[in-house]
Assembly symmetry: C2
Homo-oligomer: 328 residues x 2
C-alpha cells in the first residue's frame, strides 16, 4: 500500500535523511548479514532470508537509532537523556551514550527480562525500575524528563528511532537480492515504519507485512481500524513489542507503508524460536520470531515466495529460551 506522491510515501521520514543517517551510525550496527536459510525453507515451504540484527554489542537493531540520538545530543548543550524501554532501547542508548559521555537514564518495568536489565546497568546507564508494564515506564520517563530537564527519547515517536531502523530497509534494497515480502515485528512501530518507508519508496513491489502477538495487538488493531486503539493489558512472551498505547503519528505512517498487519499466537512464536534455534542456529528473543510465526500460521500465503524476516533482537534469558525451545 504505497499511498504516495510519485514514488515518495508521505510519511514523517525522508530518504535523504535516512541515507545521511548511515554516515552517523557506528559501523558495527550497519551492513548486517542477509542470507538465505535453506534449512528453514524446508520447514516453512517458502524461501526465507534472514536479516540478522543481533550480531552487535547490544544484540538488537536499536543501536541504529540510538546512535543518531546520541550523536545529535553530543553536538548540543543538553547532554542527558532518559528513555522508557522494554530493554533493548535502553541497552542501545546506554551503549551510544557511553561512547559519547552522555548521561543516560533508562526506565524499565521490574518484570523486564533480567538479562536486559543487567546489560543496561553494565553499560553504565542509570536504571530505574517501575512496577507495572512498559506503559508505566513511559509515564515515569516523561516525569523524570520534566523534573530534571532531560531529553526524553520516545521510541517510534522520535524520528531518529525510525530513521535508524530505516537504514535496514536501505540495506535490503541495496543488497541486490529480489524478494517478495518482508516480515517486520511490530511494537511501537519504529522498525515497521522505518523499513516500510524505504521499501514503499524504493521497492514498492515488495509486500510490507507487520507481525504482532495476538496478546499485545494494540497497534495492529489500530492499523486495521485506521484509528488508535488501546488495550487494557498485554499478555505475551514477546516483551519487546508489548505496548498498549499506540502513538497516533506513528500509526499514520504505518497506514501508509504497511500492506498487511498480522497477529500470531504465543504457540507460533515459541515454535518460531525453536525453528530458528534448531535450523538456523540462532538464539533469538520472542519478538524476533514473529516473522517465522507468521509464515507458520499462513503457509499458503507465503508458499513458493521469497520472504525476508528481520531478526530484530537476541536478548533473552537463557533459562527461558531453553524452556521454550525444548517445549515442543
Amino acid at each position: 500500500m504505497t499511498d504516495s506522491v510519485g514514488n515518495v510515501p508521505r510519511t514523517r521520514l525522508s530518504d535523504e535523511r535516512i541515507r545521511a543517517a548511515r554516515q552517523v551510525i557506528a559501523p558495527v550496527f550497519l551492513n548486517t548479514p542477509l542470507y538465505r536459510c535453506d534449512a528453514l525453507e524446508r520447514e516453512l515451504g517458502c524461501a526465507v532470508s534472514i536479516k540478522l540484527e543481533t550480531a552487535n554489542p547490544v544484540r538488537s537493531f536499536k543501536g541504529r537509532g540510538t546512535e543518531l540520538v546520541a550523536s545529535h545530543l553530543s553536538a548540543g548543550e543538553m547532554r542527558s537523556v532518559v528513555c522508557a524501554s522494554a530493554g533493548n532501547l535502553g541497552q542501545a542508548l546506554a551503549w551510544s551514550g557511553r561512547n559519547r559521555h552522555l548521561g543516560v537514564t533508562v526506565v524499565a518495568s521490574r518484570s523486564a527480562p533480567t538479562v536486559k536489565l543487567d546489560r543496561i546497568r553494565s553499560l553504565g546507564a542509570h536504571l530505574e525500575l517501575v512496577d507495572g508494564d512498559f506503559e508505566a515506564a513511559r509515564r515515569r520517563a516523561a516525569e523524570l524528563a520534566n523534573e530534571h530537564g532531560l531529553r526524553l527519547l520516545e521510541d517510534s515517536l522520535d524520528i531518529e528511532t525510525c530513521e535508524g531502523a530505516a537504514t535496514i530497509g536501505l540495506e535490503l534494497v541495496e543488497s541486490g537480492t529480489s524478494f517478495d515480502a518482508v516480515l517486520i515485528a511490530l511494537g511501537g512501530g519504529a522498525l515497521a515504519t522505518g523499513v516500510g518507508h524505504v521499501l514503499a519508496s524504493l521497492a514498492p513491489e515488495v509486500e510490507v507485512i507487520t507481525v504482532q502477538p495476538s496478546g499485545a495487538p494494540a497497534m495492529t488493531l489500530s492499523w486495521r481500524r485506521h484509528a488508535v486503539v488501546t488495550t487494557d493489558s498485554a499478555d505475551t512472551i514477546a516483551d519487546g513489542v508489548a505496548g498498549r498505547f499506540p502513538i497516533s503519528a506513528v500509526l499514520e505512517d504505518l497506514l501508509i507503508v504497511a500492506d498487511d498487519a498480522l497477529l500470531v499466537s504465543e504457540a507460533s512464536i515459541v515454535t518460531g524460536m525453536r525453528l530458528l534455534f534448531e535450523h538456523a542456529g540462532l538464539v533469538v528473543e520472542p519478538s524476533a520470531a514473529l516473522g517465522v510465526a507468521a509464515i507458520l500460521e499462513s503457509p499458503d500465503r507465503f508458499a513458493g515466495r521469497h520472504v525476508v524476516t528481520i531478526i530484530c533482537g537476541g536478548n533473552v534469558d537463557t533459562a527461558a529460551h531453553r524452556r521454550w525451545v525444548s517445549a515442543l
Copy 2:
C-alpha cells in the same frame, strides 16, 4: 614471528591474490560482523571481540575458500570436484558448486555430526561416507579423484582455501579496530595460515595465536618441533579440527606466521561453548570455542588486552549442544 622480507612474510600466499579473491567470493560470505562483547569480557578478564563467521548459508568461514575453487573450476573444462571434509568444507563446496552447476562429491567420516552430513546432502552434493576418521576420508577422496578424473580439493594444501580464509584477515586489519592478539582455531591450517599471513604482513604488531585441542594436537606439535608430527588417533569433540596428518607446506607457512600455538582441554572447549551461548547468545560448534578456551586456560596472558576470536563455525547437533552447554 614475522620471518619476513621487509614486511612481506614468505608464505605461499600473496596480499595481491588475497585482495583479488574478494572480487570473486559471493558477498554473503564477506564483511562478517566484528564486535566487542562486553558480557564475555567480564567473564574472561580481557576485552574480547568476536569475528562472526556463522551468519551465512553454510554457517562457517569455508565458503570464502570454496567460492574461489568453484569459480576457477567453472571457468575451465573440469567441472567436477571431490573433497574430504569433516563437514564444513563439504557444505561450503556443495553451496558454491550448486550455484555454478558443478558436480560435487564429498567424502566424510560416518561419525561426522549428523547436521553436517544432512546439509551436505540437502545442498545437492553426492556424499560418500567412510568408516574411520577424517584421514580415512582424505584417502578415499584422493582415490575417487584418481579413478574418475575429478579435481581433488585438499583443504589447507590448496591455496584457494587459505586465500579465502585470508580475506578474514583483511577485514580485521581494515576494520579500524586496534587489537593485541587474534586467536585462531587450528586444524589443517588454512584458517591460521590465511589470517596469519595477512596479520604478519599488514599488522605485524598483532600476536597470531593458534589454538588446537589437546586431544588432536598434530599440527601444534609439528609447529613446536618445526617438523611434521603425526598422531595415531584424535580424540576431541572439536570435530572440525581433528586431523592427524599435518601437511608439510602448510606447516612451513604456519611456522612463519604464528607467534604461538596453544593446546586446550576438552573441558575448556565445553566451557567456552557455554560462555558463548550464555553471554553472547551464540550457538557455536566446538572448534569455534577454541579461542575462548585458550583465554580461560591462560587468563594472565590475556588480562587487560584486546583479543579477537574468530567464531569459525556453527554447525553443531542441537542435542549435543544442549548437553554441552547444560553440563557445567
